[in-house]
């Protein structure tokens, strides 16, 4: 979300480290709170952090992590990863969309939805982020970037309310 994490993410994508290595490192980092604490803690010296990185992470990503530690940006690693993921999807021409639903749609419905989206936004394929939310009452809500398509009962009720309550 912030500019700094974005630049790091783009840089990480551009240096061309294998995706598998980056994903593994991120898993390692997020699953070990002690490691996170050690690398983010400003009272731990740089040399010690470097030693930890050398001992744990794969050689390809070590330099990147060391730079992050030296600049005190290690706590942004999750965001950097998200931005990196975005770059990857963009390069593969994949669209990410968020689908919020009440009852899970069937596979055919999902496929149809993906196809229309791919056509509309001129992308090769679509990756759907699924999330259930009972507060919608019925229907679904599709969010692509800044745009939102509201087909939920909740949204329609809100619209009706607006129409009726308008002076």
């Amino acid at each position: 979300m912030n500019k700094q994490a974005d630049s790091y993410g783009r840089a990480l994508f551009e240096i061309g480290i294998k995706k598998r290595i980056i994903e593994e490192s991120r898993k390692l980092y997020s699953k070990n709170p002690a490691l996170k604490e050690a690398l983010c803690n400003p009272s731990v010296t740089k040399e010690e952090k470097h030693r930890v990185i050398d001992a744990i992470f794969s050689p390809k990503i070590r330099n990147f992590l060391k730079v992050l530690c030296d600049n005190g940006s290690m706590d942004q690693f999750e965001e950097i990863y998200r931005s990196y993921e975005g770059c990857c999807l963009e390069s593969e021409n994949i669209l990410t969309a968020k689908l919020i639903y009440v009852t899970e749609p069937q596979t055919e419905q999902l496929e149809a939805m993906k196809q229309t989206l791919a056509l509309k936004y001129d992308k090769d394929s679509v990756k759907l982020d699924m999330k259930q939310d009972a507060s919608l009452i019925g229907g679904f809500l599709l969010r692509v970037g800044d745009e939102e398509y509201d087909y939920s009962v909740k949204g329609r009720l809100a619209q009706l309310y607006k129409k009726l309550a308008w002076r």
Binding site: M1, K3, D6, R143, G145, D146, E147, E148, Y149, D150, Y151, G155, R156, Q159, L160, K163, L164, R167
Partner: protein, 500 residues
């Protein structure tokens, strides 16, 4: 009765719901990532325009005030209660607007045009963006018609014309607002729409002004736009623009409008608060770099249109409060340079009993004689020069014994002029009253009247003239001229009154 109403309402509602077509439109949304101090940073909304109105989940509206790479800065126009990290924000695709129209007249509204006088909803049919470009060079006409304030000191020496911007400047408690209110009161029956914009004022002061105006029947042609001190800085910031948008509606329909901004120093302070929170770089006195543009674009919208564009006008009376009489501070100098003149009020004069406390030396109207009626121009003559000479000689009043006759006369004349220019609150003078009083003073007909009795003399003399010389009074009011014969008539009338 109640039953029928409920049934009717039910049937209307049912009908509405049955015929409700649901259109699921695409909406552009963003998410709040930071909120505080009336400012929200919103991620997304990549297509939002500068100055666009956005709506938060809670129903509160906001205006886009800064566009960054991935985020936009939004100033809230309502309570920030319920706005949390992750709240949704919707675009409206519209710039901030206010309702305008005849329906607004007589009402007290907030900066967004919503009524706050408890008299029910205002059903305006038209809306106008709060920010509008000022009329261009081609559409304008030079100021030539007077907008009389009803205050003798101002109308005679610093006349204000329709379409002029005259600054009222002075310390606190020097009667700045009173001059503005008096001017509004004087517009009664003259087909002028008056708009009073209160920015950062105490609500009690605003209530008092509403009372004064309604008591004198001035609310019938006035609108009050109030963004009091307790309201959010963004509301105080947009209040004068909203007021001007309402004024423009009337101006483009050929009407004359008087708008009072009370006061612009508080407006600058509100804008400073907003700018600092939006992280715009601070400049002198921590005001942002565009604080001059803030006021210049507002005051440029006051103008007089030519006949081809309706011939309407907006006359602006901005008010600025100074600290310890310092007119050379940052905001006062800015506004002085934008306006077409200023009326400078001094606390020293105010406390020595000269009210309105107009400083004759420092006040000026750059439009000048063009905005005076012929009668007033002739009657006021060399009033300013007489007063200047008096002020120069004033120190000698203390050695009154050793003065030659001419100096003594000059001093007596000057002190009587000053006495004559005093005027109580909420009592605007009509044109003939001003002209006759000035004639009496110019022809030294008051030199034998004791200083303390000048005001009584003036009152009785005017009453006598109105009664005995009705035709003359009517002629001044209607034709607005003053010929030499008329002056002779006035002089003989006053002499008659004195000999009684």
């Amino acid at each position: 009765m109640g039953n029928i109403c409920a049934e009717e309402i039910l049937s209307v509602l049912k009908n509405e719901i049955e015929h409700y077509e649901d259109k699921s439109q695409m909406q552009e949304v963003g998410t709040v990532i930071r909120a505080g101090d009336g400012i929200a940073t919103v991620y997304g909304l990549s297509r939002a325009m500068y100055g666009e109105l956005v709506v938060f989940e809670t129903g509160v509206e906001g205006i886009v005030q800064s566009l960054e790479e991935k985020t936009v800065g939004v100033v809230l126009l309502g309570s920030d209660h319920g706005i949390i990290e992750g709240s949704k924000v919707n675009r409206t695709g519209e710039r901030a607007c206010v309702g305008v129209g005849e329906e607004m007249i007589g009402r007290v509204v907030d900066a967004l045009g919503n009524p706050i006088d408890g008299k029910g909803k205002i059903k305006t049919t038209e809306k106008r963006p709060i920010e509008n470009p000022a009329p261009g060079v081609v559409e304008r006409k030079s100021v030539s018609e007077p907008m009389s304030t009803g205050i003798l000191a101002i109308d005679s020496m610093f006349p204000i014309g329709r379409g002029q911007r005259e600054l009222i400047i002075g310390d606190r408690q020097t009667g700045k607002t009173s001059i503005a209110v008096d001017t509004i009161l004087n517009q009664k029956g003259k087909d002028v729409v008056c708009i009073y914009v209160a920015i950062g004022q105490k609500s009690s002061t605003v209530a008092q002004i509403v009372n004064t105006l309604s008591k004198h029947g001035a609310m019938d042609y006035s609108i009050i736009v109030a963004a009091s001190a307790s309201e959010l800085a963004p509301l105080q910031y947009i209040a004068p623009y909203a007021g001007t948008a309402m004024a423009e509606y009337f101006m483009y329909r050929g009407k004359d409008v008087l708008i009072v901004y009370d006061d612009l120093s508080k407006h600058a302070v509100a804008y400073r608060a907003m700018s600092l929170l939006l992280k715009r770089p601070p400049g002198r006195e921590a005001y942002p770099g565009d604080v001059f543009y803030l006021h210049s674009r507002l005051l440029e919208r006051s103008s007089r249109l030519d006949e081809a564009h309706g011939g309407g006008s907006i006359t602006a009376l901005p008010i600025i409060e100074t600290l310890a009489g310092d007119v050379s501070a940052y905001i006062p100098t800015n506004v002085i340079s934008i306006t077409d003149g200023q009326i400078f009020l001094e606390s020293e004069l105010f406390f020595s009993g000269i009210r309105p406390a107009v400083n004759v030396g420092l006040s000026v109207s750059r439009v000048g004689g063009a905005a005076q009626t012929k009668a007033m121009k002739k009657a006021s003559g060399n009033l300013r020069i007489d007063l200047a000479q008096y002020r120069e000689m004033e120190v000698f009043t203390q050695f009154s014994s050793d003065l030659d006759a001419s100096t003594k006369e000059l001093l007596d004349h000057g002190s009587r002029l000053i006495e004559l220019l005093k005027q109580p609150l909420n009592q605007p003078m009509s044109l003939h009253a001003m002209v006759i009083s000035l004639c009496a003073a110019n022809h030294k007909l008051m030199l034998d009247v004791p200083l303390k009795e000048i005001k009584t003399f003036q009152r009785n003399m005017l009453a006598y003239m109105e009664k005995e010389y009705h035709a003359l009074v009517q002629k001044i009011e209607q034709e607005k001229i003053l010929t030499d014969e008329m002056i002779e008539e006035i002089i003989s009338g006053i002499k008659e009154f004195k000999s009684r």
